[in-house]
């Protein structure tokens, strides 16, 4: 196998890793602070994709239509995040985690039916936006330039989250709350307020990642479960609630998938789980995770 083929595969692996990071970072952030594993994160991502499609179709602005739709859909998803956190999750923080998990599972079922009812079961897609319409040549192989946009967006979100978590006062609070919730609360910081905004941020990221997949592949029912299972692999490999862990996990899963698909397409997903099993034998909490208290 020649170098150029491998490089091409490597680049599509990176693009996939960027998308996985976008979705998994929201999941990991919510878990890190709220200690609630949001099964519905994939559903928010799916809903974001469908809402982007509808907005794009309605406003029909040339050239920047997709970007405007992406922005608006992310805001809508933030609003939906407020509703879910305020009316459901907030009332469950005092309960056991199985009930929290089951509640987010219920949201998965409800969103699935809303999408089925609102958009039907067909495949939808948005054409790639300008200036990422064509393909660039990488060592003679065509590589969709839209992938660069996804990678770029992934990088922006990595840097933004890193800045937010490690360089701001809010980040200090986030890390402190992940460590010891009672202590932060005792220092006079309103925890419910913090939780709402973290969940909203997670939802906005879910909506954003859903929006960028619209021109990446196609939008359809079932895309939520497909991505959430891979995201679980990402966070299990990298460590739940850890930003560098999520980044590393995304890269591993994205690249293993890209090279696995070249080797044996049916088993591409199986390779991911083999890596996951291997990591778990050595480090049950993931590479950057910390043992559960």
């Amino acid at each position: 196998m020649s170098f150029d083929v491998l490089f091409n595969q490597f680049m599509s692996g990176i693009a996939r890793a960027a998308l996985l990071f976008l979705v998994a970072s929201g999941l990991s952030l919510t878990f890190g602070v709220l200690r609630v594993l949001n099964f519905a994160h994939g559903s928010l991502y799916m809903l974001g994709a469908f809402i982007t499609y509808t907005i794009w179709k309605t406003i029909l602005i040339p050239v920047v239509g997709f970007y405007v739709a992406t922005f608006l859909a992310s805001l809508v998803m933030g609003g939906i995040g407020i509703i879910i956190e305020f009316f459901l999750l907030r009332r469950l923080y005092a309960r056991g985690w199985p009930e929290q998990l089951l509640a987010t599972y219920a949201i998965v079922l409800i969103i699935t039916d809303i999408v089925k009812w609102g958009w039907g079961g067909e495949f939808l897609s948005i054409p790639r936006p300008i200036p990422f319409k064509g393909a660039v040549s990488l060592f003679g192989f065509p590589f969709p330039s839209y992938n660069f946009f996804v990678i770029l967006l992934g990088l922006i979100v990595v840097i933004f989250l890193w800045w937010l978590v490690y360089k701001t006062r809010l980040g200090d609070i986030i890390r402190a709350a992940a460590h010891d919730r009672e202590m932060v609360s005792a220092l006079g910081i309103p925890i419910p307020w913090l939780f709402t905004w973290i969940f909203v941020l997670g939802s906005i990221i879910a909506g954003l990642s859903g929006a960028v997949t619209a021109p990446f592949g196609s939008i359809a029912l079932g895309m939520d479960i497909e991505i959430i299972v891979e995201c679980f692999a990402v966070v299990v490999i990298g460590g739940m609630g850890s930003l560098p862990g999520t980044l590393l996990g995304s890269l591993i899963v994205g690249l293993v998938y890209a090279f696995g698909i070249m080797f044996k397409p049916e088993l591409a997903l199986a390779f991911i789980f083999m890596v996951m099993a291997a990591v778990l034998i050595i480090r049950p909490w993931g590479i950057f995770g910390r043992p559960e208290r």
């Binding site: 594993l37 469950l92 479960i225 049916e266 996951m276």
Partner: protein, 327 residues
Amino acid sequence: MMQRSEVGVNNSAVKRGWWLILLIIAFLIAPFVISKFYLTILCEALVMSLFAISFNLLFGYMGQLSFGQAAFYGLGGYVVAMLVTKLQFNFWLSLAAGTGMAGLVGLIVGYFCVRLRGIYFSILTLAFGQLIFVIIFKWHKFTGGDDGIQGVFPPEYLRSIEAYYYLIFFVCAISAFILWRIVNSPFGQTLKAMRENPERTEFLGIHIARYQLIAFVIAAAFAGLAGAVWVPFYRSVAPSYLTWIKSGEPVMAAILGGPSTFFGPVLGMFIMTFVHSYILGFTHFWPVIMGTIILIIIFVLPGGILEFAKVKITERREKANIAKGQT
């Protein structure tokens, strides 16, 4: 304390005796009383109850929430379907093979999963469950992919609904009895001890991972048996049997009925199955209704129906005792 609870178990076992016999008689005469339509739903409720009890061995007794139990259920079904349609294998041996295969895969998956606790255990079981689903879904040549396998017929003498109903009833009743014995054995007590206080149990010299692995394999095997016995009745199997949506059903049944009781998941499953068949009569939007029911239970009936009833009964008894004490 120990002695008191022992006596309590015996007492309730005697009390429970007569209504259990009534219940068994009711199940035995059911085919003569209810219509074929309801008999079919009853079959489904029984099989799903066995599935739910197997799940609750992990959730209610061991304290670990598996979100991949449907993989074993589907695996049992697939083994039977493939043996019967492709090799014309003996029906009874196929059932045993389906159970054994689910147990064997449970051993491999469980080996990794029992290292983790709490939410991590749930994620890992979910991930492995989806892995098994994807393999069956994508391996079109071997498993039929998303078409599934049709034409899985039981032997001639089990073709009628009534005959197969009795098979399902006996398989489920015997399995439930075995599982009941397991949870009330020293092994079951050890599982509960691990749930309540893993550190202390470990200090008693109990190898937690080994015990949890045994429980995981038992649960997987019984889930496999449930799938194995269901598929010839339904005459077909599809990859949707292994998805996490299916895995969520026993979770919901357990939380609805009460995971801290042995029959709670059964009650939950019966309610769910009958509500499901009723709702399908006028809408296909079953998931949204199921989701809404889940949220209502979580908010209104924490602990499940049986737990709620138990608390109410104890409260009433205590009130009666106080009243007695005063007079």
